[in-house]
Amino acid sequence: MSDFIQANLPYILAGISVGGQYALIAIGYTMVYGILRLINFAHGDVFMAAGLIMIFATASLPMYISIPLVIIATVLLGVVIERVAYKPLRSAPRMSVMISAIGVSYLIQNCALYFTGGLPRTYPAIPWLSDSITILGATTKRVTAITPILTIILVLALVLFIKKTKVGLAMRAVSRDFQTSRLMGVKIDTVISMTFIIGCLLAAIGSLLYFTNYQSVTPTAGAMPGLKAFVAAVFGGIGSIPGAVIGAFLIGIVENIIKGIGWTTFSDAFTFVLLIVILMVKPTGIFGEKNTDKV
């Protein structure tokens, strides 16, 4: 066992790291689903857009302005998408909202195609994060070590926020029952915006970490990590934050170990096999909502 770990250490480290990045995206899926019962297909593309915004920002601005700018712009993008594409459909059937989300996804990809000309754009090296370090004899970028730590801190902060604050209380109420939440004086639209703000904030941070590792952004660069994060969310039980985080780390680690064994071609397939298996065996995921609705 220890031999295995020693031999595969770079892959395990890479797996934990990319798992953290998937987790930061997966939270956006799971929270939006928890509140709106909507699978926000555009979320992976928002993640990609965050990467492009960084590239365009650093072309003319220093790093210390670009990074906050990326975060703010991504959050704004998320809030605008919700207001324009989802809010008008609040009382429409769920399928309509989902189709709208797919539309937004293509719109973002096509805008990205327009701005990049379809060429992969090189992601800027973020000083400190891209530096090489050595962990237990394995050489890697510092981002590999920082990602899981930062992810855990952010997730804990988020869980505390939802558990302890008044806004968190309102979010839990709205995720349960719109009408009764309204009756308590909760402004539903504000809470929904808040959900998109948090989801996009984490996706923006995730993009800084992810693209530092992968170095280039294409218009479809959000699709694969987006899908994996989505599967992580389903695996964990969509709507559950800890579930999504565990699912994301699991997918990240397993797909990298598969690469380590030399089956790189199958590493993506694993994610989708996992999706199929969960949907067959336990569609509600490991921490899925029990249906406690009393009638």
Binding site: L169, R176, Q179, T180, L183, M184, G185, V186, K187, T292
Partner: protein, 235 residues
């Protein structure tokens, strides 16, 4: 006495169907007023319209002299109207205490006095402060729904069928608490199918039939009215 709430020729439609067909009534400040009627008469619709969850097609809702017709629920609630909804609708995966706190969502001041007040009205809730709402018994859930509504410090508390699905002893408890809350200065608009209890408790009653008010009187009068006895009391 002045009217805290005046409903004037209220009409409410769902799609093309008229559920409330021009209803007018007043709620005097400090009183317990009841609206009785059978299934589908439009009782819940009227309460939901007053509180802004459902939009009125025409007519007016006047609260303390101010027209609040079709205003945001958020605004109406912060002005002092609260609704204990039909079926209680407590949040099942929040603790009793959290359910009370969300009832005070509109307020930014200290809640500890009000929580104590609610716990003094319902000692059962105090013992169960950390229990999840969904695991409470039906009667306890109703107490929690009332307590949660009180947390907004309402001037007018509307209650939609508080006795629904509860044993007679619990119903009696709930009604005596309603009177107690009323004595402490909260005006009450009570919607009930349990006409017997409602008429005994209320100072004034309105009878609603398929979207129209068909009879008005003091609780006592209607309790002894032949037609009412036959239609709603089964005697």
């Amino acid at each position: 006495m002045s009217n805290i709430l005046e409903i004037k020729d209220l009409k409410v439609n769902y799609g093309g169907i008229e559920a409330v067909k021009g209803v007018s009534f007043d709620v005097e400040e400090g009183e317990i007023i009841t609206l009785i009627g059978s299934n589908g008469a439009g009782k819940s619709t009227i309460l939901n319209t007053i509180v802004g969850l459902v939009k009125a097609a025409s007519g007016n809702v006047i609260f303390q002299g101010q027209d609040i017709t079709n205003k945001d629920t958020n605004y109406i609630v912060s002005n002092g109207i609260t609704l204990v909804p039909e079926g209680r609708k407590i949040f099942p995966d929040m603790s009793v205490l959290e359910n009370l706190k969300i009832g005070a969502y509109m307020r930014n001041d200290d809640l500890s006095k009000d929580i104590e007040w609610v716990y003094s009205l319902f000692p059962r809730l105090k013992e169960r402060s950390w229990q999840l709402g969904g695991t409470l018994s039906g009667g306890e859930q109703q107490m929690l729904a009332v307590g949660r509504a009180l947390m907004s410090r309402p001037k007018l508390m509307m209650m939609d069928e508080p006795s629904l699905g509860l044993a007679p002893i619990i119903v009696r408890d709930i009604f005596s608490i309603i009177k107690e809350i009323n004595n402490q200065g909260v005006t009450i608009l009570l919607v009930e199918q349990n006409a017997n209890m409602a008429l005994k408790t209320a100072s004034k009653a309105y009878v609603l039939e398929t979207g129209n008010i068909t009879m008005t009187g003091s609780g006592e009068e209607l309790l002894h009215n032949e037609a009412i006895r036959e239609a709603y009391l089964g005697t």
